[in-house]
Symmetry: C2
Subunit: 492 residues, 2 copies
């Protein structure tokens, strides 16, 4: 699709998952999600390469065999896994990416007590730098001595240093760095040690384009760049002048892959899951949440709002069912295990207070069964997506896309998706439990006409952007001399 040289992608997690089939043979399964679809299509036909960390034993076996040619469903690119020493990768991935960078960009710390940056942190930061350096070296090597200038699409907070490290190897490289999560405000970013925050910002500014899902995160990044003495921030143009280059800070909201989602939703496993959920629901109204069990997802306050709803609206008791599908996440991190325990305790408390012999108000399923998620999407009356902060949140797009009951979306104003979905969702401040309770009441009292109208607007908003545009616009913005007219539309 795109013209202008090879496209190379780097991400922590690869686009393909290897597993052992029933006969013990190594098999590959494409990762779901719009991101993989978009990046795959961008690479295809360019001699593209995707570089990722080997995360499983099976990945590592593949890594040992060298590059892998991926040619499934029209895709055509090579995949290369990087195999890191486990201790080094654990430090980079758990200590830095997930315990420091994830926390700082989502405002998750209990600041009077955490974080504390100690000598262990310094060793972990060195490991993060090393992992990033290995990615940069691999990208450089795979790009080779190409005549056309290669284009690099570097994904997310795991790889913040890659752009600058790659630029030092290839001054002429064309690089996008995309952050799929929020970006910290300037005061909060100052929690990071001086040299670390500067290295991170300078790492990202090694790119030509730094991308975010929402204007607020881009604005925060611009504001944070003023912490770098030599950066010149032009907020009006959304640019940073840095080391003689202009870095564009762009907003590219990602969408879903409608074709893949429809296909997956048509799977018999989804119909089976749906029958099970219908039994659980037993004719009641259904509130759904679907989340990784993450500190940023605000599961606790969701339960608090539901509890207040039951307390204040007795007529709804026994007539409503809250289904929480939680994907267990980051069990290596103590804060996550603790948070999941608190969520389960909160749900248990509601069931103990309000449950009757015939009715269990809340059901929490901790697991990772996508057919059940798809079935639940089809049949909710209310979808609660209330993260404290969230780069985009694709549940808020997938749910309305598949829902068949004109279900109402309650959406956090701090999810990136709120920019597009505000037209149809009931938007709430995620900390405002009283207003979230009101939103549940409002959603359940809404007329069928209003539900239908809102559902239509949500579907329209979800359909208005495509994952292909998402990546095409980034590649377009990479061109040194930008065309000024509607160049991107021809590529969509």
């Amino acid at each position: 699709m795109p013209s202008g040289g090879r496209v190379l992608v780097a991400s922590n997690r690869g686009p393909v998952e290897f597993y052992r089939d029933a006969e013990g043979r190594l098999a590959a399964k494409r990762g779901g999600g719009g991101l993989v679809t978009a990046l795959t299509s961008a690479m295809t036909g360019t001699g593209g390469v995707w570089i990722a960390a080997a995360l499983t034993r099976e990945d590592r076996e593949q890594a040992a065999e060298g590059r892998i040619d991926v040619a499934v469903g029209g895709a055509d690119y090579r995949l290369r896994y990087l195999d890191f020493p486990p201790a080094m990768f654990d430090r980079a991935y758990n200590d830095i990416s997930n315990r420091v960078l994830w926390f700082v960009h989502h405002n998750l710390w209990d600041v009077p007590r955490a974080p504390t940056f100690d000598e262990r942190f310094r060793r972990s930061w060195a490991a993060y730098r090393k992992v990033n350096g290995t990615f940069a070296a691999a990208l450089d090597e795979e790009a080779g001595p190409s005549s056309a200038v290669p284009r690099f699409l570097v994904q997310d907070y795991h790889l913040c240093l890659v752009p600058a490290l790659l630029r030092s190897r290839r001054p002429d490289a064309r690089i996008v760095h995309f952050m799929h999560i929020p970006f910290a405000g300037r005061s909060y970013l100052r929690i990071l040690p001086h040299d670390v925050r500067e290295e991170m910002l300078a790492g990202m500014l090694g790119a030509d384009v730094v991308g975010f899902h929402h204007r607020a995160w881009a604005d925060n990044f611009l504001s944070c760049c003023t912490l770098l003495r030599d950066a010149e921030v032009d907020a009006a143009r959304s640019e940073v002048k840095w080391l003689g280059r202009r870095v564009k800070v762009g907003v590219y909201p990602i969408s879903i892959d409608p074709v893949a989602l429809r296909t997956q939703a048509a799977d018999p496993a989804v119909a089976r899951a749906r029958r099970r959920l219908e039994r659980w629901r037993d004719g009641r109204a259904m509130i759904l949440r679907v989340d990784r069990a993450d500190l940023s997802k605000n599961i606790l306050r969701g339960f608090l709002a539901f509890e207040a709803f039951l307390r204040r609206t007795p007529r709804w008791r026994e007539r409503i069912f809250f289904l929480a599908l939680l994907q267990s996440s980051r069990g290596e991190i103590g804060e996550y295990r603790q948070y999941l325990r608190e969520c389960l305790r909160a749900a248990g408390g509601i069931n103990a207070s309000f449950g009757t012999p015939r009715w269990q108000p809340v059901r929490v399923v901790v697991g990772d069964h996508f057919p059940t998620v798809l079935a639940a999407y089809q049949m909710y009356d209310v979808l609660l997506v209330n993260p404290v902060f969230d780069g985009m949140n694709l549940v808020a797009k997938e749910g309305p896309f598949l829902n068949e009951l004109d279900g109402v979306l309650i959406l956090s104003e701090n999810a990136g998706a709120s920019a597009e979905l505000g037209v149809g969702a009931v938007v709430v401040n995620p900390f405002d439990v009283a207003r979230t309770t009101d939103a549940i009441r409002l959603a359940l009292a809404m007329s069928p006409e209003e539900r239908a109208e809102r559902a239509r607007r949500l579907q329209e908003a979800v359909g208005a952007t495509s994952v292909h545009e998402w990546v095409a616009q980034q590649l377009e913005d990479l061109r040194p001399a930008k065309r000024t007219s509607n160049a991107a539309s021809g590529m969509a």
Copy 2:
């Protein structure tokens, strides 16, 4: 001193403390600190009035007697106490000012769990609005139908709504609102409910001048004002256009009152306290911290840094003494009681791990005895001031001003004072325990020449500004047609 009409001050806490003397008679004692000195001198000779909430039983007895003429030490103004129903004041002061506004501006929440805004919060916010309204009405009333336009100096986060409420009563009023604490970044401010954060910002923008101690807090405020649809923020001029007016956002770092401090330090009680502290110290090097036991003061990480220092530098064991003078604070708030317990436990842990029969490494004194603080200022080798965030922090100015041993100041980069004191202090990131440990080592290893040079620079920096300039500059900036030359210097 200032010309141009009466000066009226509003603050939560009044400038005078009433107490019963040994014979049971009501007596008055002037509050210490540069703020009272500055505001008192600004009011004196203008027919000034100071309005404050009655906080103690003695205050309330005074409130019942009406206005009080204050004429001590050259001061000349009237004092009026406002007596609020205790439940209302508790909601405004504890629930809103100290549990919500203090937390949001210092980034203190454990965001996955707190805050939750519920119906109780709404009632408390209504109480805060009411208290602010009472202040505004009293200011209006006290200003009376004066011919010269009165000038109002409204203090701090307890009274954020007063400027707008006062402006609606007196459109021609000249109002300064001064925030003595930091101001939240834009993302973090968004934790507050939509209407509440807008009401707060609009409340402050009722002033002609909004003042902060540090550029970073002023910049955060400007950035937060972009959340108001109708505000036009001119960051370069540090102005906000709002409802047809231009609001200046200014930086006025406050200082100490050197005369009062010298006088207090010469008190015999200080000499007695010093003898006691010298016995405790017993010839050892002394690290000092002086703080309210507040979540923002970072007492825990200070102990962690000291613990790491003792672990890594065994030669300093038994040769050093850490004195923590903590003023107990906000005991009505569970988080504060919990934090103080954790601090005491951390200190106890260090004493248990490293203490010997001859030596207790840490001594924590919880109390409120200013002579002991002044004595400790005179005799520290190292003063640790490492708040996570702090509007200004006057300990960092008082300590170096009184110290007699060329003591080294270790100062958080997130304290407002760091802008002026960075020239002489060892500046640290308060979350970086490893670097704080390094700073302790560095301070203790410093040559006498370097200590003397740094102490000299600190004294110079503290002396470079005066509390009188602080208030004079604000009043100067209140003038509708500003003189452009060095108008303020003539008033200092």
